[in-house]
């Protein structure tokens, strides 16, 4: 296992620095003045709907696309003009990873090792992504999840200090998704920096030290999941299930009261408000069945910020943008 800070860039506080980044495709501003820093050793996630500009940003950071304007530093270098200094220190699993159909995972890893001029433990890499059994099968006979795992293994061949994983679990079944999550957790333990993009809330919440919510080419919130909820979520609410007349009674306390799904929800300014409400309910003589305290989840925050984009959105996933 690799110690944190074992890489030359490991002593830097920021592995990635981006300021005022803009990328236009014709008249479309896919990335529109984006600022963010990724700290060395953290798992940083871009969370945003399809078309938000995640891939565009990541590929600019990987040196695969040219920026329109702004400043980008990856391990201290400009990735477009100084790719040679960056390439051997980063690992990349692109979105829509594809490989040569008639090569096996083992051959692919050997090829990368020879191209980088390194001698990794190929069996260990295969085992890490659970591809030992498929090591000698042609790429075109593997499943989508196995392709994705191979993509992650390839990103690790050169023992990179910084990894870019662009939607590594999109379209995978829950088991394959969890396997990749394990790999990512392991990468963090090894002290590597991980830049992850995802449109799964649960994934961002489970894995990330910090999240940036990105929409329409801009970052609209950054911080740890807890920070984001604290900063952008609504206040805690007391929820009372019982006689509908309770609502008017509680309103006399000067609090903001709402009816939600047949229950009464009261926004709390402080913990003391909760006690006052409970005392009032008890003395009112009106029927009550249940109390609970409601806290916003990341999903609530996300939906309130980005908006519920389309109907039929499933919890934890942001719906695909039409036509994408």
């Amino acid at each position: 296992m690799q110690e944190a800070g074992a890489w030359p860039g490991g002593t830097m506080t920021n592995s990635i620095e981006v300021s005022k980044l803009v990328k236009t495709y014709g008249s479309l501003r896919a990335v529109d003045g984006l600022d963010c820093d990724v700290r060395t050793g953290e798992v940083f996630s871009f969370l945003g709907p399809n078309g938000a500009g995640k891939t565009t940003t990541v590929e600019i950071l990987e040196g695969l696309r040219r920026k329109t304007s702004g400043e980008v530093r990856v391990l201290g270098f400009d990735p477009w003009t100084q790719l040679d200094q960056v390439r051997s220190r980063i690992g990349v699993t692109p979105q829509d990873f594809h490989f040569f159909p008639k090569l096996t995972p083992r051959e692919a890893l050997r090829l990368y090792a020879n191209l980088f001029g390194v001698k990794p433990d190929v069996d260990e890499l295969l085992a890490r992504v659970e591809l030992q059994d498929k090591a000698n099968d042609y790429y075109d006979t593997l499943s989508g999840g196995q392709h994705q795992k191979m993509g992650v293994a390839l990103a690790l061949v050169n023992d990179p200090e910084l990894l870019f994983l662009d939607e590594p679990t999109t379209g995978l079944d829950p088991r394959a998704r969890r396997a990749i999550w394990e790999v990512i957790r392991h990468l963090k333990l090894e002290g590597r920096t991980v830049f992850l993009t995802t449109h799964y809330l649960e994934e961002a919440q489970q894995l990330s030290d910090r999240i940036a919510i990105i929409n329409r080419g801009r970052i609209i919130a950054t911080g740890s999941p807890v920070d984001i909820i604290a900063r952008f979520g609504r206040p805690e609410r007391l929820r009372v299930v019982g006689d509908p007349a309770l609502a008017d009674r509680i309103a006399t306390l000067g609090l903001h009261v709402e009816r939600v799904d047949g229950a009464v929800e009261v926004e709390l300014r402080s913990k003391a408000d909760a006690l006052a409400i409970l005392a009032l309910v008890a003395s009112s003589g009106l029927r009550w069945d249940r109390f609970s305290i409601q806290t916003d989840t990341l999903e609530d925050v996300f939906i309130s910020m980005v908006g519920r984009l389309e109907d039929g959105s499933t919890p934890g996933a942001i719906p695909e943008e039409a036509g994408k």
Binding site: E59, E62, L64, P94, F100, N114, Y138
Partner: protein, 373 residues
């Protein structure tokens, strides 16, 4: 340019190629099938009649016509009379790749009539018989047939005195058979087809599947990639050449030699067509368009560059078309180097091919990019 990386990438590309049966079929097996088919269909088999080209300088006199019809009825030769305007028959035969000829001299009829009437002007007339020693049994068949008919005439007219005397002459060793053209033609075919069919596909589907992007994530450079790719198709061209030479000589007795001068064509040719294929794939938006563009480029070249038939047999209006096709220079050069031993023609063709290869490979490098802007 880092040779370690070229050496690392080359086997991966080779494996990908070999494991796709269609690619290997098109580049190595298909040309062999073609040589077997065309060789069998167009080579003269020993049992058929030998064409005998006759120049009758006796103005279709009765005696000469009777002599030729007697020759024809032997059943072993087919008489084709050409106009005396063709001039020297030996030269005519050489130019037209004909293996046997006969000249009936002026005064043939007059001499034979004189002999029949026992006039003093009776004297031997010489028939010039041209055959090609390299065509083996054909020469014997022709000489035997002419001699036989002449003996019959001598008996009939002069009771056995030699009046009609065939003189056997060689046409020279400049006789080429169809198969001799077919071997270089099909080598050119595989030099064209192996890169064109797969490079158009590679450059367009790899672009779609972002495989170039995948390679650009490693230290492999575009130049190294291109070099490894060139090397692979050069290797294929050599293998294909050996196969076609082997089949051509062993099965059809082709007179073709792999001279040193043929080798540069097997290097420059694949470089030229890899570049053209890459270019066609790079400028197309989808693999489907690329396929269409590839076919538009490949098919005319496949048929009109002297692959299956020598361009010298083309109708004259088609010849300039052939001369406009890059493959023509490869095949013409291979013919010059492997069949005619004509070094200066080969050098000229090599120069043309090299200039084209340089132009197209620079254009391919210019239009084919690893990364997106």
């Amino acid at each position: 340019m880092n040779f370690r990386r070229i050496a690392a990438y080359f086997p991966a590309f080779a494996k990908g190629y070999i494991r796709n049966p269609l690619g290997l079929f098109m580049s190595l097996i298909f040309p062999v099938i073609l040589i077997l088919i065309f060789g069998a269909v167009f080579s003269n088999s020993g049992s058929s009649q030998v064409p005998l080209t006759v120049e009758n300088l006796d103005h279709n006199s009765p005696a000469s016509v009777a002599f030729l019809s007697a020759l024809n009825s032997t059943g072993v030769v087919t008489v084709n009379v050409v106009s005396p305007d063709v001039g020297n028959l030996s030269t005519y035969l050489a130019h037209n790749d004909l293996s046997a000829g006969l000249v009936i001299p002026a005064g043939f009829n007059a001499t034979l009539s004189a002999c029949a009437a026992h006039l003093p002007s009776c004297g031997p007339v010489q028939l010039l018989v041209f055959t090609n020693p390299s065509s083996g049994s054909e020469a014997g068949i022709v000489e035997g047939a002419v001699q036989g008919v002449a003996n019959g005439e001598n008996l009939r007219i002069a009771g056995g005195t030699v009046v009609v005397a065939p003189v056997n002459l060689n046409v020279g060793n400049q006789l080429y058979r169809y198969i001799d053209y077919l071997v270089p033609g099909l080598i050119g075919f595989s030099v064209l087809v192996a890169p064109m069919f797969s490079m158009v596909n590679v450059s367009s589907t790899w672009k779609r599947d972002k495989l170039f992007r995948q390679l650009s994530l490693t230290p492999l450079t575009r130049g190294e990639w291109l070099t490894a790719t060139f090397l692979w198709y050069v290797l294929l061209a050599f293998v294909s050449t050996l196969l076609l030479l082997g089949v051509g000589t062993a099965v059809f007795g082709a007179h073709v030699t792999l001279t040193l001068l043929a080798l540069p064509f097997l290097v420059v040719g694949p470089i030229l067509f890899v570049s053209i294929g890459l270019l066609a794939g790079s400028v197309s938006k989808t693999p489907e368009t690329a396929g269409v563009i590839g076919n538009i480029i490949t098919f005319p070249m496949m048929f009109l560059s002297g692959t299956f038939f020598p361009v010298s047999l083309f109708p004259s209006w088609l010849v300039p078309v052939a001369h406009a096709l890059p493959l023509y220079y490869v095949i013409d050069g291979l013919n010059a180097a492997m069949v005619f031993g004509n070094a200066s023609a080969a050098y000229l063709d090599l120069a043309v091919t090299t200039v084209l290869a340089v132009i197209f490979s620079l254009a391919a490098v210019r239009f084919f990019s690893w990364r997106e802007d």
